[in-house]
Structure formats: C-alpha cells, structure tokens
Symmetry: C2
Subunit: 619 residues, 2 copies
C-alpha cells in the first residue's frame, strides 16, 4: 500500500500489553536499576572522576549501553508521567555523570576512558564497541528529547556523534563498528536534529561493511557481517543481533535516502529469513556457537539460541520495513516475535530473564553450571553480559509506538491492544482482550470531519473474519473502512481464534513429523507439569487438534487462555536408538490417551523446571 508514518502518541490503556508495561514499570525497571548499581555500571562512570580511577568492573567494553538502554526506557516512563519513585533521580544521576565524564573532544566510553586504556581509543573497532555505545547513547538521548523535552543527553550524544563523524566521515578513516547499532541511531539523530551529516554517516557505515575491515582472534568476518558488502549478502548471516540491527539500520538509511539498491537487498534478505531461518516463535539464531543465525532450515528446538536481543532486532527491522512499504506481512512477523520470542525472555514476575530461548527442554536437561548464556533451566536475575534485560525494559516502555501509523487520510491499526490512538485527524479508542480473544471494538472519539479511512490489519492466521457481524475479506492483510465518521462511531472486528496446528517445511529436519499448537498470535507449548504422560510420549494427530478446548491457565501462571486437548500416548519401550527398518511396519505401541494442557510459550519456565515442548510428535 505504500509507506506509512509512525505515530508516537498512542497510549496502551489495558490488556496484556498494559499488564506488561505495568510490570516493566513496577518490577523490571526497579530491578534493573538495582542490578546496574550492584554490577558496577554506574561505578564505571563515576570512577573516572577520580585522579586514579579504580578498575573497570565487568569484562565487556559495552557495559555503558545497559545504562543507555535503561535511560531510553525511563525517558518513555517519565515522559508519560509514569515510573516509580526514584526513577527520575536515577535518570538525572546518570545523565549528570555522563556530562561530567565525557571527554572534552566528546569521546565517551567508561571502558576506554580509563587512563590506562586511553591510548586504545578506536584501536579495536572489531571488538571495542565504541560506536555501538554511541548508538545506544543516541537512542536514549533522542527518546529523552522527544518524550521528556530534556536536551541534556542529546547534547552529550551530539558531541560524541560529531567526534565520530569527524573521525569516520567522508574523507575520514574508513572504519565500521564490529557491532552494528549506530546506523539506526544516527538516522534517528538526523530525524531529530535535521543534521544531514548523521544520515550520511549512517549510510557510510552500511556501505563500508564487507570490506574486511574487522579483525578478531576468535570470530570470523561473517560474525560481523563483514565478509561481503551488504548488498551482496545472499541471506541473513553471522551473529543474529548484529545482523538484525544492521538490517534495521540499513532500512532506516533507505527510508531517508530512497536508495532502491538497499531496499532490494533488504526485501530479499527479509523474505529469505522468514522462509528459511526464523523459528515458529519468531526467534532468530540457531546456534550457541558465535550466537549465529545458522544455515537455512537449521532450526533445532532444543538448541534454539534465539537471543532475546535478536527478537528485538527482528521487531525493529520488521517495523521499519512496514513503515517503508505499508505491507502487513512485516507486522505478522512483528507480532509473532512480540508475543513469543520476545515475551518469553522475561519472567512472569518481571525480574528474571532468559538470554537464549529454546523451544524445547529435554526431561534430563543438563543445566550448564555456572555459565551465562548456555541454556540454563530457568530465567536468571542478571548476566555478566546483561544486554537483554535493559533491552527488554526499553522495548516494553515504547510498545505504544508500534500500535498504529498513519497515511494521508488514513489511520492504520498495526497491532491490536486496548488503547487510545490520536492523530491530528482522528482519535480512536480500542477495546479488546487481544491476544487472548479476537474481538476488537474501535470507537471514533474525534472524527476527521471528512472522508477518512481506518485500515485494520488482518493477521495472516485469521480466517472467517467479520466486521460488524458481516463476513469480510482482507486484501493483502488489510481491511479498509472509508467513510465520513462521526464521534461515537464504532467498528466491531471479529478475528476467530480457533486452535491451530502447524507443521514444518520438509527441509526442516528438526521438527519433521511434529506438530506445534498455536492460537491467534500465540504459540503454545506443553510443560511436563501439565501432562500426565511424559511430554516425549505425547502424540498429536490432526483430529486431536480439532477437539481442543480453551481453558484457564494452570495455577501460578498469569493470563487467560490455555488450550486443553486429548493427546494419544505412545510410550516408547526400551528401544534401540537406531532400530533397523524391516519390511513390516513397527506397530506403534499406544497406551491410551492423556488430557494435556498447553500454555502460551511465553509463559513457560515460570514454575519449577521440567521438560517442555513446542513441537510434539504428530504420529
């Protein structure tokens, strides 16, 4: 349908997303602030005020970004007049520290500003993360400027950005950062300030990749997306978060430059990713090694890495592709990621996090003791590399930005949530229990006073959709209602949400012969405590799915809808691992059936650690 303009004024007023935002406000943010203090992220800055600074705490040169991501989230909270006591003080404390610590030339990075490390500035672009730090600083600064009207952080960010442009701009040093992120931020800084040099710099960083600038003793060039020029990439590759941030940044560059060669690459990479490399949950990244995306169709459930940060990166990319094209297909993925691969990263109480998000936990899973990112049984309160927790924080805080968009004479509803959407032309309130229920009621609170369209996204999974009780057909994922509206007019959209089963592509070995259960945008899973038979013994033929019923969630899980169904139980007698196939088909042993409750995948792991499966044997 063509490009759309994002809307930043939407308020989420109820429902699951509001519960998530409240949890963020009252649990995750206070927890994160405390962890940042305890882990030393603030000390890393304040130590630089001392003539003989104590040692940097932590091993990674990017720990300032955990502060920046938190500040970005806080800017949304404070801007909406929300946030618990102490939040404003924390914001001011960190900004004050940053102002005092920033170098006279604008340089800012508490790892490298140590006098001992000072000569290392810009010496290790592959691993130093200095421009990655700048990127998160800019994003926090732009959020503070936009949402709070606070210009202090923006001044700090511009000073560092200007230094970077002088160093790496046209005619400057041909460097790029080992971890893409600054590209998105620089384009946003251009949008906020109008300073074209930032856009140019972002474009240069995208264009410079793939010329072997980056060297590392452990990681290969493709880890950094530096093995091929961006436009030559045949597929998303390397470190998943890096790839997602790079693609999102390149999309931002396209949005502001309309460079079609960039879009052609992005379009190809996106479709290929969705068709061959994305988990059912929307997670990206199949390998623990190098946190890498992996080959096409390499999507093992138990070793799915699908870092929480990669989920955010995919949503960032998806949203920008939607903004560029108005195409609903990007929102289908956005929603899949939001309610599954992203949401699962946070515990129900908002104070513990998954770094990696597998789709299966085996009965005798060996918890990797003492490790940080190795598939631990349950979520952890913090990490030595804590990139995910504050990333969750900022994203929760800004979810309102991804609910709606506008075009001339048209309001575009991208995501269903209880909320209030306001533009210059129109104000609409939405009532819905989505994603638990597919009924959505829109009320026009302020009418445009002219013919005007309201465009509703119809998710790809939806069938038999009705509007105001009448069957309707979506076109390319959209339903458009154009009329002269009056205040008080309503639209009642009904998206039926039967329980669905999904199979997988024949090339995808890891889930061959298995079925996954979904309803609406939610992927479901079975945890051992909700099945009387071992989850590995459950078999779900298609006809069993047809009899599925909705039910309340098991005790201890917040939310609304579980799926109850009867599974066949086919226990496996002591058997060879690789039995010889003989002429006669082996008679499947079947020991009756079992009533099983499936819970939304994003809620798994909130009780004691037991076996879990998204994909259940289908035969």
């Amino acid at each position: 349908m063509g490009a759309v303009s994002p809307l930043s004024s939407t308020r989420i007023t109820g429902g699951l997303l509001r519960e998530w935002q409240d949890r963020n406000r009252h649990a995750t943010i206070p927890h994160t602030v405390e962890q940042l203090r305890v882990a030393g992220n603030l000390d890393n800055l304040s130590r630089l005020l001392s003539a003989e600074p104590p040692a940097y705490r932590g091993r990674y040169p990017f720990l300032d970004t955990d502060l920046y991501k938190t500040l970005e989230g806080l800017a949304y909270e404070i801007g909406e007049g929300e946030g618990d006591a102490g939040v404003r003080e924390f914001f001011d404390e960190v900004v004050g520290l940053l102002e005092r610590v920033q170098g006279e030339d604008g340089y800012l990075n508490s790892f490298f500003q140590d006098p001992e490390a000072a000569k290392k500035h810009w010496q290790d672009l592959g691993w130093g993360h200095e421009l990655y730090n700048l990127g998160h600083l800019i994003q926090a600064a732009v959020a503070a400027h936009r949402r709070m009207g606070d210009a202090r952080l923006l001044a700090v960010a511009r000073k560092f950005a200007d230094l970077s442009v002088r160093r790496f701009g046209e005619g400057g040093k041909e460097g790029v950062c080992g971890h893409p992120e600054v590209e998105m931020a620089l384009v946003e800084l251009y949008r906020e300030t109008g300073e074209r040099a930032y856009l140019t710099q972002a474009r240069l960083f995208v264009d410079r990749r793939g010329h072997g600038h980056l060297r590392h003793s452990v990681f290969p060039p493709d880890y950094f997306q530096d093995h091929l020029p961006f436009r030559d990439l045949p597929t998303v590759t390397g470190h998943a978060v890096r790839m997602g941030y790079l693609a999102a940044g390149a999309t931002d560059v396209f949005l502001e430059t309309q460079d079609r060669t960039l879009f052609e690459t992005l379009d190809k990479l996106w479709d290929d990713m969705v068709a061959t490399k994305l988990y059912l949950t929307g997670g990206l990244g199949s390998r623990h090694s190098d946190e890498a995306i992996g080959d096409r169709y390499e999507l093992p459930s138990e070793r799915a890495y699908t870092e929480t940060c990669a989920a955010i990166a995919v949503m960032q990319w998806a949203w920008r592709m939607f903004v560029a094209t108005g195409s609903a297909k990007y929102l289908d993925v956005f929603e899949r990621v939001l309610f599954n691969a992203y949401a699962v990263g946070l515990s129900a109480d908002g104070q513990a996090f998954f770094y990696d998000n597998p789709l299966q936990r085996r009965p005798d899973h060996e918890q990797r003791s003492g490790a940080e990112t190795g598939g631990e049984a349950l979520r952890r309160s913090w990490f030595g590399c804590p990139c995910c927790p504050p990333n969750i924080v900022r994203w929760m805080a800004q979810l309102g930005d991804y609910v709606a968009a506008e075009r001339p004479d048209e309001l575009v509803i991208a995501l269903f949530t209880e909320g209030r959407i306001e533009t210059d032309a129109v104000a609409v309130s939405v009532e819905t229990a989505y994603p638990w229920d597919g009924d959505v009621r829109l009320t026009v609170e302020r009418a445009p006073g002219r013919r005007y369209a309201i465009r509703l996204r119809i998710p790809a999974w939806a069938r038999d959709v009705t509007l105001d009780g009448e069957p309707v057909t979506a076109e390319d994922g959209w339903l458009t209602v154009e009329r002269e509206w009056s205040a008080g007019d309503t639209l009642r959209l009904h998206l039926p949400m039967p329980v669905r089963g999904h199979a997988s592509h024949p090339y995808l070995d890891a889930t061959r012969g298995a079925v996954a259960v979904a309803r609406g945008p939610l992927v479901y899973c079975v945890e051992q405590q909700d099945s009387p038979a071992p989850v590995d013994d459950l078999v779900l033929p298609v006809d069993r799915l047809a009899d599925a019923e909705l039910a309340a969630l098991p005790d201890g899980l917040p939310g609304q809808v579980a799926v109850r169904l009867t599974a066949d139980v086919a226990p496996v007698p002591p058997a060879e691992l690789y039995p010889e196939i003989t002429g006669e088909p082996v008679a499947a042993e079947q020991a009756g059936t079992a009533q099983v409750t499936l819970v939304p995948y994003f809620l798994w792991g909130n009780r004691r650690p037991e076996a879990m499966r998204v994909w259940v044997r289908a035969q």
Copy 2:
C-alpha cells in the same frame, strides 16, 4: 564371557585397514611431521636450550602432546620395521630434545618451562594441561619401550611421572588435571614397569574428580567432569573427549583393581551413552559450544560435533570394556566408530582432517570463514589446536592391537581384517575383504596341539550367518568353534551384508521421519554430486531400500562398494516454513524418481563441497 587378554602381535596384511595403515605411513605421517615442524612444536622445545628463549609458538599449553602422539605412532611403525625415510631421525631428534629440555626435577612442558612462565607450574590445573601432557608422554614412551625396545623415552616419562606422583600422590596435593588422559597412561605405565604407585595415582585422579577442584573463567565444572564424583555421574557429560578419556582411564583402573563400584558406573554410563547419546556413526558430542556431549536424544545431524578425538576416546573406552567383560556389544560400537566417526576424520589422500564430523551438509552451508573448528566445508591440512591429526596417526598405527584377544584355550577374533594373528598357542591367518564384503576365511597355520576354541565375533547387524556353508546362530554376539585343530584347517564365515535402513528412536527429534542407509559396519550417505535431484528432495520409503543394488564407487573415491537405489523425488514447491495443518492431508507432490548413489560416510567430502545427508526423508 569374561575378561580377555589383549594381543599385541597381530599384523594387518591387507584390505581396507592395511590401506589405511599404508596411507598413514606414506602420507599422513610425513605430512604430520612436516606440519609439526612448520607450526613450531619442535621449536617450542628447542627454544628452551637458549638462555633467552624466543616466545612459545601457538596459544595452547598442550602442543607437546602433538609430538607425543606422533612419537607413539612412530614407535609402532619403527617397531614393525616400517616407516618412510626420515621417520627414525625425527623420532630420535624429538626424544633427544625432550631429554635435554626436561627439568632436573623431571618437569617437562615447553609452554611452562619458559623462564617467564616458570612460576606458573601446576598453578592452573584446570587449563594448564600439564598432567594431560604427561599422559601422552607416557603413552609414547610405553609404545617406544614395547615396540622398539627403546628405553630413553620411558626414562623421561618416568622422571616426570615420579615428580607428579610426589606432588599429587597420597598425602600430596589433591589436584586433578582439567583434561583427563593421564589416568589411562599411568595404568599402562604400571603395567609396563610394575610400579604400583602409578596405578595408585591413576585411581586417585579418578576418585578425586567431582569435588570442584577445577576453576575456569569460561567453562563450567561439568565441562571437566568435575561437578560430580565419577561414581555419581548419571550420564556421560561435558566435553566429549575429556569424558571419553576419563571413562577409558577409569576402566583401566577397574581392570587392575577390580573395584566393582567403578565398573557399575562404567557399565551404566556406557549403556546410557549408546542408548541415548551416540550418533549412528558412533560419533560422540552434539554441541559445538564447549565441544559438549549434550542431552539425551539431542543428536542434530548438521551440527553434530563428534570430534575425531572423541571417536578415538570412545574406541579406547570400548576396547577396555571389552577386555574387562569379553562382551561383543562393545566391539559393535568400536567397529561403528572405527569405520565411520573415526575414519571420516581423514581425507582419502591422508593429508587433510576434519575436526568435527557432521552427518549433514546443507545445500547453502555457510562456511565459517577463518575459523578452526566450526564445520568448515572440507577437511583442513592442520589446525591451531591440532589434537586430531596426530591422534589419527597413532591410532592408525596401532590398529593391529584391536583385532584379536585371547583367553585360556581360546582365541577371540574381535575385528575382521586380512591379517595374521599369533599367540603362544596358535597362529591364524585371515583372508577377507571386510568391511566391503562379509566373507571371512581363517586358516590355522600353527595348531595348539590340544582342544582349543576359536571365537568369532558376529556383529549385531548380521543375519543368516553361515559357517562353512551351514547356518549358525550366535550367542551374545559370539560363535565359538572348539576342536582339536590341525595346521591348514580353515573356517569360512559368511556374514551377509544386505543394504539396511535404520530409523531412529521417537525421542530423537533431529532424525524423526528419516531413514539412514547402512551395509555391514558402514553407514552410507548421499552427496549431491551423486543424485540428479536435490538431496533434500529425496524420499526413501522402505520398499525402495529393498531394491538397492551394490555398485562401484563414483570416480575419485577409493574403495569398493557404493549403494545404488531408486529414490522418490518429492520437490517442495515454494512453501511456508510452518504451514497450518488443515483437515485434509496435504497431497505429497511427487515428481518421479531418481537413481541415486550412496557412498560410505567416511568417504564424504573428498570431492568438491556439496550438500550431503546421512538421514534422508522417509516419507
């Protein structure tokens, strides 16, 4: 049947194993010697003769072991009067260096003997590999003493071993090495010298594990098998090579102490490994991360790590379990590993190596550029961590040790190969083209002159076995022929080798709905160049297997038997990754059939890199 005594006098005189030994002699050993020189392994020793030694070359503190493993192999070669020109000189050169470099107290490790590193002796048992180094030194020394009658290296090894016993013996420091290996070696040193302190020390090292002695900044305790006492391990776990070496060493301790609590653990661990954690190829280790074994039934084909060294470790353990029990089941695994997971580690020309050995290569496999151990497309000539190549060398050289064993009044044939087996009681020659063919002809060359049994191993895959043309039935994997033999007596064993299909256990998600082809002890695979249709589109229902025929191998591959069969071809039209399952079963698209040639898995990757599958869709 009870314990057996190994035989070390068997000569392999022809057939595939002899071809492998010849290749080792004329290609792999010269190549390895050259690589060791180029990589600096010798320089690391000779530099210590200088007052101001140049820097250690390489990053790992265990590079001396590559020399030791090579010396162990050379001892077999030289002992048999084989080996190319220069081999003896290399042996003498290295031994001479070791004699000169060894510390006065017996300490020997070219990494830590650097004056700069001297104070670090024994300070980092978790990662220092000092006792691991000692283990390989001992194994080389025992081989040199036994096979060459050369006592020089044994003197060096004993001096270092004695130092270690003084330091870590009873009443000494309660240390244990981060990488098990020295346990096997110390027991062998006890066998060779009769010095009981070495056996005691080996027992102590096994018993001390699991008390949290080992600390590492990256790897968790289970990586080192130090999270639980050995007897409490519920399953093989952690780093695969470490686990295999530890289990083999513990079996050696059991063999000499008859400590049943050790055997009970070993028996349980073995059966669990074979039933839940071993690849069809006999490979062990499912994860690239930490080179770890992984969970039960976690056996993904494309990411199979199955390090070549782990294959050797499993064979070492299997052989010792066989020696302890006389049970044929251990030899079934030994043989599976030998002809598949081990053999695949070496190229057909003997000069390139796989470090990890996946069971699948995807069509668009992204070769991890510049990495050492990350699933590169094809074998490499050497590695920065070159543990596998010299491990292959020593194992090829000593294959004769694993052909036969004896018991009182009984010769036990463990592995079929053309060769000559000699004991005090009997001499037997064997003619066979095994594993290409299941006909085995034994000729008694020297008769015992009393009733005597020849016990033939009947592999678990064998059906309809005949002896001298008569149907026979194996008992627990053995066929025993007891009689008064005369010189010239023969036995003709016939093991039919039809093409077999194998399925996998229902808990094993990665290969569900797929079939693997095997014949005799060989697992087969399909490489793209041998299939007119994409390998991912091939489907092999059971009845297609029944029509399989034997054929010559494709051009460029050495050996004898390929499998030709007609596969169904079910190309996948552009399709969703996770299609919704609807009531009607999706009509399988089928575009006819294709004549496909399957080659032994161990030969894959000797032509240009293309897609490969061991497991092919079955429906």
